[in-house]
């Protein structure tokens, strides 16, 4: 074994990275503009109104989707965030999370559908998803930075890579779990592939897909601290700074804000799916 020289995998990766940066620069700039614009847009929307107005709106949404318990939690939790002075960074983080989640759904659902339609596609995609989920997130922060430079955009990209697999996997699973006799009936009545997808497979797969989307949102949220290491603003940056400066109190406060957002997002999405 000692005779085999070390494989220069690291060198290869770096030369690929260099090549991409050199040749696909305009593409990366375009992606950067789009994602940056999305995050900014959502952030502006979330912070345009005074915090109290938004809290009332979210509470109303929580009451409509869930029940008064969820609404009460939303009011108390969000007031606490506001009280701790973390409203703005929280909304910045939320903008990042929402952008990453929306893009994960936009790309993940069609990829999941493609996986469900073809075993070849699934067999190609599955190992890639395994790789994306198990490779430590820090490792792909670096190329993300070299493609998109510092800021929120590489954070969104890293979040998507980390968070998109559940949406793809569970979309695939949900469609594949549609009972064979139902798809057969759809065929027997002369459905086109698109009719079968929209009238039968997606509606039946919806609860499973929604579980995947819920997980995607949670995973995206879990990336906010890591994203802050490459310059994404938000409540994650508070945690990161608290860790580097050993300020336990600040770290906890910011941590609580993340927890509150996590619970809210989780319950809101879950109840929304159950309500169908």
């Amino acid at each position: 074994m000692n005779n085999v020289p070390k494989l220069p995998i690291g060198d290869w990766v770096e030369s690929v990275e260099d090549w991409l940066t050199d040749h696909l620069g305009p593409l990366f700039d375009f992606i950067r503009a789009v994602i940056g614009g999305m995050v900014d847009g959502i952030e502006v929307a979330l912070t345009a109104a005074p915090s109290l107005v938004l809290i009332v709106l979210i509470a109303a949404l929580a009451y409509w989707i869930g029940k008064w318990k969820l609404a009460a939690f939303a009011v108390i939790g969000l007031l606490l965030i506001d009280n701790l002075g973390l409203w703005e960074p929280s909304m910045q983080s939320l903008a990042l999370v929402l952008t990453a989640s929306i893009l994960s759904i936009v790309f993940g659902v069609p990829i999941g559908i493609a996986c469900a339609r073809s075993n070849a596609v699934r067999n190609t995609v599955t190992p890639i998803l395994d790789f994306m989920q198990t490779m430590p997130a820090f490792v792909y922060l670096l190329p993300a930075v070299s493609f998109f430079s510092l800021g929120v955009v590489p954070g969104v990209i890293a979040s998507i890579i980390f968070a998109i697999p559940p949406t793809i996997r569970l979309t695939n699973l949900g469609i594949r779990q549609v009972p064979g006799e139902l798809t057969e009936a759809a065929d027997a009545f002369g459905s086109s592939p698109a009719q079968k997808l929209f009238k039968l497979q997606l509606p039946i797969a919806m609860p499973t897909m929604m579980a995947g989307i819920n997980q995607t949102i949670m995973l995206a949220l879990s990336m906010v601290v890591i994203s802050s290491m490459i310059g994404a603003q938000g409540v994650g940056a508070y945690v990161y700074r608290a860790v580097t400066q050993a300020k336990t109190g600040v770290g906890f406060e910011a941590g609580i804000a993340i927890v509150i957002m996590a619970i809210l997002l989780d319950r809101l999405t879950q109840s929304a799916f159950k309500k169908k």
């Binding site: 009972p179 006799e181 139902l182 057969e184 009936a185 759809a186 065929d187 027997a188 009545f189 002369g190 459905s191 086109s192 009719q195 009238k199 039968l200 509606p203 039946i204």
Partner: protein, 404 residues
């Protein structure tokens, strides 16, 4: 002309189906092909025609290939070789668009496990076939409502399938199959998942529906009773091959081989054979011929009862030897001594339903048609003999007539 003409239709499951077809052509058996090549013959060179308006039953045990065969008809399963002609057009050669059009407009299907869409209401389920055709909402609503009405589900439109009992769910399945008014309805073990009583009801209703709509129905079943009950013709399948095609009566009375014979030997014939199968020719008289002629006739033919009809053969009643001699003695016309309490049944009444009335009736039961014309009479001996398998009651005529 047959609405569906199936020619040498074959389905092979395995790695090299064309090769297996060649082997079948060389006379290899299903077992041998499986042993040598590990390929399974689903359907083996089936050929038959289905006539418009008939209920064509394909019957066989599980694994006989009947469900595969029905799916070859609308290509839910792709045939390996052979032809399926629908009104003369070969379905096997159709491209995707033509096939979709055929399924949308001409061939409906009802499934064993109902296969209703759980996320759609009863109405939306019934509408499905119309919806994929692109028929606009108002019109398809109306057509679907009519179909639901037809199967007796009025008032349930807004329910979801899981709120309905099994029998009602299959009515939805039937409505969905009928809503686009297809030429052919494929029913794959449509009633097999229902419990026996509901199943009987559904069979009955299917026959009523059929009498009204005159659809061509291809009905798959593993249940011989069901096949005999609803089939105009039955195709019996074994190991992927069609063993015999015929009317229920032909299958029962002239089984093509040992397999069919064994299959039908346990059939309760009393539920299949009807009064017309067991009836014998009665001695009749018209009333104006008088009691003396009646007695004379009885003596000549060796019977003790005559059936009295008018000139149009309509049954008026019966007269016994005792009655006739009383009339002669008291100088009465024949009309005066006619017994009018003769039990009457239609010719298509199954024998099973007649046992009680036969036990109670003093005189043999009369079989009369819709115009109350006398077609025959039922005597115990002839019925027994018919049930015992001596199918043609008239052959043993002399013996029964004595007893009558």
């Amino acid at each position: 002309m047959s609405i569906i003409e199936v020619k040498q239709l074959t389905k092979v499951f395995g790695h090299d189906p064309k090769h297996a077809v060649k082997l079948l052509g060389q006379g290899w058996s299903k077992e041998k092909i499986y042993r040598e090549t590990k390929m399974t013959i689903g359907v083996n060179q089936a050929s038959f025609g289905i006539e418009p308006g008939e209920i064509f039953v394909i019957m066989g045990l599980s694994g006989s290939g009947k469900s595969t065969l029905v799916r070859l008809l609308n290509r839910l399963i792709e045939p390996t070789s052979g032809q399926v002609l629908f009104k003369g057009r070969d379905i096997v050669g159709m491209n995707k668009v033509e096939l979709r059009e055929l399924r949308r407009k001409h061939i409906g299907m009802v499934f064993q496990k109902f296969a209703l869409y759980p996320h759609r209401t009863v109405l939306a389920n019934a509408e499905y076939g119309l919806e994929v055709q692109g028929i606009e909402k108002k019109q398809r609503r109306e057509l679907a409502m009519n179909a639901l009405k037809l199967v007796g589900l009025e008032g349930w439109e807004q329910s979801y399938p899981d709120q309905l009992s099994g029998g009602m769910q299959q009515r939805v399945g039937l409505a969905r199959g009928l809503a686009n008014d297809p030429d052919i309805l494929l029913m794959d073990e449509a009633f097999s998942a229902l419990d026996p009583l509901i199943r009987k009801d559904m069979q009955h209703e299917l026959l009523l529906l059929q009498a009204r709509m005159k659809k061509t129905i291809v009905f798959i079943t593993h249940d011989l009773d069901e096949a005999l009950r609803i089939g105009d013709r039955i195709a019996l399948m074994k190991d992927g091959s069609i063993v015999q095609i015929g009317t229920p009566e032909e299958i029962l009375t002239r089984p093509a081989d040992k397999f069919v014979e064994r299959f039908v030997e346990d059939v309760d014939l009393s539920k299949v054979l009807t009064a017309s199968h067991a009836m014998i020719r009665p001695e009749t008289i018209t009333p104006e011929r008088g009691p003396r002629v009646a007695l004379q006739l009885m003596r000549e033919s060796g019977v003790s009862t005559l059936y009295v009809t008018d000139k149009e053969k309509r049954l008026l009643g019966a007269v016994t030897a005792d009655d006739a001699s009383r009339a002669v003695k008291e100088n009465l016309p024949l009309e005066a001594v006619i017994q009018t309490n003769v039990v009457m049944v239609p010719p298509d009444e199954v024998l099973n339903g007649l046992f009680d009335s036969m036990a109670e009736a003093k005189l043999p039961i009369a079989v009369v048609d819709e115009q109350s014309r006398l077609r025959g009479i039922l005597i115990k001996g002839a019925v027994m003999s018919t049930l015992a398998g001596n199918r043609d009651a008239s052959e043993g005529g002399a013996f029964y007539e004595q007893r009558a």
